[in-house]
């Protein structure tokens, strides 16, 4: 599957018109110097030879080659940029859960009351929100007007990086929260009416313990599964948000690489994203497996 992603990216990119050498040298460079650079970068090799070199590089060094533009190893570039992106993803997931769980609990407990209806509107609003637009509004409101957070970038003083990630993570999580609230709410409703909950209640187990130890635990499973399904969407959203907030993570690396036709970097980032999706999905599966005794038996 990962192989499929890489191959698709390799050929897709080469279908795209545009010459990396031209992008590096600019519009007024002479054809001679462009040709020289093309041959220096190996772009004049036949496509299959390029694919061969690429494959060798991936399997022997775990690298998709040297960046055409930056002239450094793609692996190095990605490893350097990945932490901030992964932090952003992690924080966004955290926010989503922190926002979604209480909302869903409140809505489920007050089923069909006003609160429930209000909460149920959230998914409908959230689905149609362009992430970049939400980001813009958050910047205007919380950074420019209220000055609570930096407008973008990643600061360098100890607390800055975290503060800088708050608004971007919020933008991403606002897109992710709606489906979470929706599924969690309906799961909770089912669990609330389940026999074992009635039994627990009848046994005078404190309501709080029922909620946290039994109900949430059961409702958490489908939520985790849903997160797994949305991992790729989540990473995609993160890449766009990085642009809006001027964060130099994988997203900005990828977008500049796409527009510069920096093939090795685009391939590398796509490979990394695909691997991340696989790894995160596996981790979530493992979590579900641990949490769900039924899964362990079968």
């Amino acid at each position: 599957m990962v192989l499929g992603v890489v191959l698709a990216v390799f050929f897709l990119l080469r279908l795209v018109p545009g010459d990396p050498a031209r992008m590096i040298l600019g519009e007024r460079a002479t054809p001679a110097s462009v040709a020289a650079l093309r041959s220096q970068l190996g772009l004049d090799q036949p496509l299959l030879a390029q694919l061969g070199d690429f494959a060798v590089s991936v399997f022997t060094r775990g690298d998709t080659g040297t960046s055409l533009v930056y002239n450094v190893s793609t692996r190095e570039l990605i490893l350097q940029r990945a932490p901030v992106t992964l932090q952003l993803v992690a924080l966004a997931v955290l926010f989503s859960v922190v926002i979604a769980v209480p909302l869903a609990v409140v809505a489920a407990r007050q089923k069909d009351k006003l609160v429930d209806h209000l909460v149920r509107i959230i998914p409908t609003v959230g689905l149609g929100m362009p992430t970049f637009w939400v980001g813009l509004l958050l910047i205007i409101l919380f950074a420019v007007t209220l000055k609570w957070f930096p407008v973008g970038g990643i600061g360098t003083t100890p607390w800055d990086p975290l503060r800088s990630l708050v608004l971007p993570a919020l933008s991403v999580s606002l897109a992710l929260t709606p489906p979470l609230v929706r599924s969690l709410r309906s799961e909770l409703l089912e669990v609330f009416s389940a026999d074992f909950v009635t039994t627990l209640r009848a046994a005078r187990i404190p309501e709080r313990r029922v909620l946290f130890e039994h109900i949430l635990r059961n409702a958490a499973l489908p939520t985790l599964t849903l997160l797994g399904v949305n991992v790729s969407y989540l990473i995609g959203g993160t890449l766009v948000v990085e642009q809006v907030f001027g964060i130099n993570g994988l997203g900005s690396l990828l977008f500049s690489a796409i527009s510069n036709r920096d093939f090795p970097v685009v391939q590398g980032v796509a490979l990394f994203c695909a691997l991340s999706v696989v790894v995160i999905s596996l981790l979530l599966d493992a979590a579900v497996y641990r949490l769900d005794p039924r899964m362990r038996r079968s």
Binding site: M23, L25, T30, L77, I139, K147, S259
Partner: protein, 525 residues
């Protein structure tokens, strides 16, 4: 040294230059500094960091192989050429303190400035100059030395003599480019790759931390030849790929300066008390290019009709918010021999445009495509105005907006009807723009328009060899006149170099090529 014709500096520039005239001690020849300084009386204070936000990272210091601004404006902090230009585009002495040009224009004898050392403390010698320029000749690169150079010879302890095979008036201007900076002979024994990874030059700054895909940190060169300079300790080039972010981060005080200001943002930046916006005339010119091999655009009457149907004032005002100057000729007023005030351009007149189109082979109009690069909202706006304007004379324009790499691929293949793009002079000589945009023998075939006019070709050959003066002026005025009548491209406006800084930053020298001289800059508080 020849005597470059006095330019018509813009009023703002003159005022700024006067304000700092008594303040900065430069060598006798280097005058004319545009400056952001609002505190004319203040003494520069040493120390501090300036963080400049830029939309692209610095990817290479190999000056002979680079052309793009993101690299050029970092290279020129480290490497310096023999001669330079000031904020008005005048050629000034730099590593060479003086020079003589022989009567026939073939021999240039330079004398190196006293006491110049590289950042590692080794002394600058004529051998370094010979090595550097010869390496550039060997490499060629995207900005090759076009001058017909015969020989480059070291002459004693401080002399370098360059002999041309024929007269080439733009030579000094060409030498002033960043790509002709001087580096140590033999790269101090290192490989080229190693040397440019940790470059050593005579410039005011040295590279201290560098992520080719991210930020670059410069430290002041302790051995800089202008004593006391640079004032600041550290200069950071911070990569912020998004325009809006650039502006917002400057406003929020997260950075001190931004390299490229969107004209739309100028008003809101100026309204902010802690921000200074510097507007300096550039060597750039925004144009609509027409492919003369195209059926319709090959018709001179069609091109003239289009020129007359465009309200260039309106376009300039609506798209640049008063930051740019309406263009009437190919050569901007920041470069000698500009015909901007000569009244050659075809004026906006819809009726005359219709009459002109009636004389063409396509009196009833036609449909054509206007190619633009996506992600550039300025061009998108211009394109829409042009589209609307041409519809008034019966020409239907379809706008095709494609990403920059695809855009370049298209026009390099001459595969376009008309496009919006900008011309840019690399050095302050009229020949640069004219050669690139009107020479059918050049690789770009008159900026991919395939425009060819034997009169123009003859004139531009003559201009290259005629010494600076009234005769040379006349040649370029004549070229601009013919171009204004044939209109292979319509000059729209001359964009300004726009820089914004927080008001604690003083005395930035903004150059007309878009670069900034930071050795004069200082930071208060």
């Amino acid at each position: 040294m020849t005597d470059p014709r006095p330019l018509r500096p813009r009023r703002a520039l003159t005022v700024a230059a006067l304000a700092v005239a008594g303040l900065i001690v430069l060598s006798a020849c280097s005058t004319g500094t545009a400056s952001t300084g609002t505190t004319a009386d203040a003494e520069p204070t040493a120390g501090g960091t300036i963080t400049l936000g830029r939309v692209a990272s610095v990817t290479s210091f190999d000056l002979n192989n680079e052309i793009t601004a993101n690299n050029a404006f970092a290279i020129d902090k480290v490497f310096e050429p023999l001669v330079a230009f000031d904020a008005d585009g005048q050629i000034i002495p730099w590593l060479a303190s003086e020079w003589t040009i022989s009567e026939d224009g073939l021999t240039y004898a330079f004398t190196l400035r006293d006491g110049v050392t590289f950042s590692d403390g080794t002394e600058l010698t004529p051998a370094d100059v010979v090595f550097s320029l010869e390496r550039h000749l060997a490499v060629g690169g995207p900005l090759p030395l076009d001058a017909p150079i015969g020989s480059i010879v070291a002459d004693g302890d401080a002399g370098v003599t360059i002999t041309l095979t024929e007269a080439y008036t733009p030579f000094l201007a060409e030498l002033s480019g960043f790509q002709n900076g001087i580096f140590p002979a033999d790269f101090q024994g290192k490989s080229e790759t190693d040397f440019f990874a940790d470059p050593i030059g005579t410039g005011p700054f040295v590279v201290s931390e560098w992520d080719p895909a991210g930020d670059l940190t410069f430290a002041a060169n302790e051995n800089y030849w202008e004593s006391g300079q640079p004032y600041i300790d550290t200069l950071v080039y911070k990569l912020i790929a998004d325009d809006t972010q650039l502006t917002q981060q400057l406003k929020a005080g997260q950075i001190n300066a931004i390299d490229e200001v969107n004209s739309a943002d100028v008003e809101s930046l100026k309204s902010s008390a802690d921000i200074t916006v510097e507007t300096v005339g550039s060597w750039e010119i925004e144009q609509m290019f027409m492919n003369t091999t195209n059926t319709y655009f090959g018709d001179r009457n069609v091109r003239r009709a289009i020129a007359m149907s465009l309200d260039r004032d309106g376009i300039t005002q609506a798209t640049t918010f008063g930051t740019a100057e309406v263009a009437n000729s190919l050569i901007p007023p920041t470069i000698a021999s500009s015909a901007n005030d000569e009244g050659y351009a075809l004026d906006f007149d819809v009726d005359a445009a219709k009459a002109e189109l009636a004389k063409s082979a396509y009196p009833d109009g036609f449909t054509a495509t206007l190619l633009i690069a996506s992600g550039n909202s300025l061009r998108a706006q211009e394109a829409q105005i042009i589209q609307e304007s041409l519809s008034k004379i019966g020409i239907t324009i379809e706008i095709e907006s494609i990403d920059i790499a695809a855009f370049r691929a298209r026009f390099f293949a001459y595969d376009f009807d008309a496009m919006l793009n900008s011309g840019q002079s690399d050095y302050p000589d009229p020949d640069a723009l004219v050669s690139f945009q009107a020479d059918p023998a050049g690789f770009s075939k008159s900026y991919w328009t395939s425009y060819e006019n034997p009169d123009v070709t003859a004139l531009l050959d003559e201009g290259r060899t005629t010494a600076d003066g009234a005769d040379r002026d006349a040649i370029y005025l004549e070229i601009q006149k013919i171009l204004a009548e044939d209109v292979p491209y319509i000059p729209l406006f001359y964009p300004s170099t726009l820089k914004a800084t927080s008001s604690t930053v003083h005395d930035l020298t903004v150059l007309p090529n878009g670069s900034i001289r930071f050795q004069d800059a200082w930071i208060s508080e």
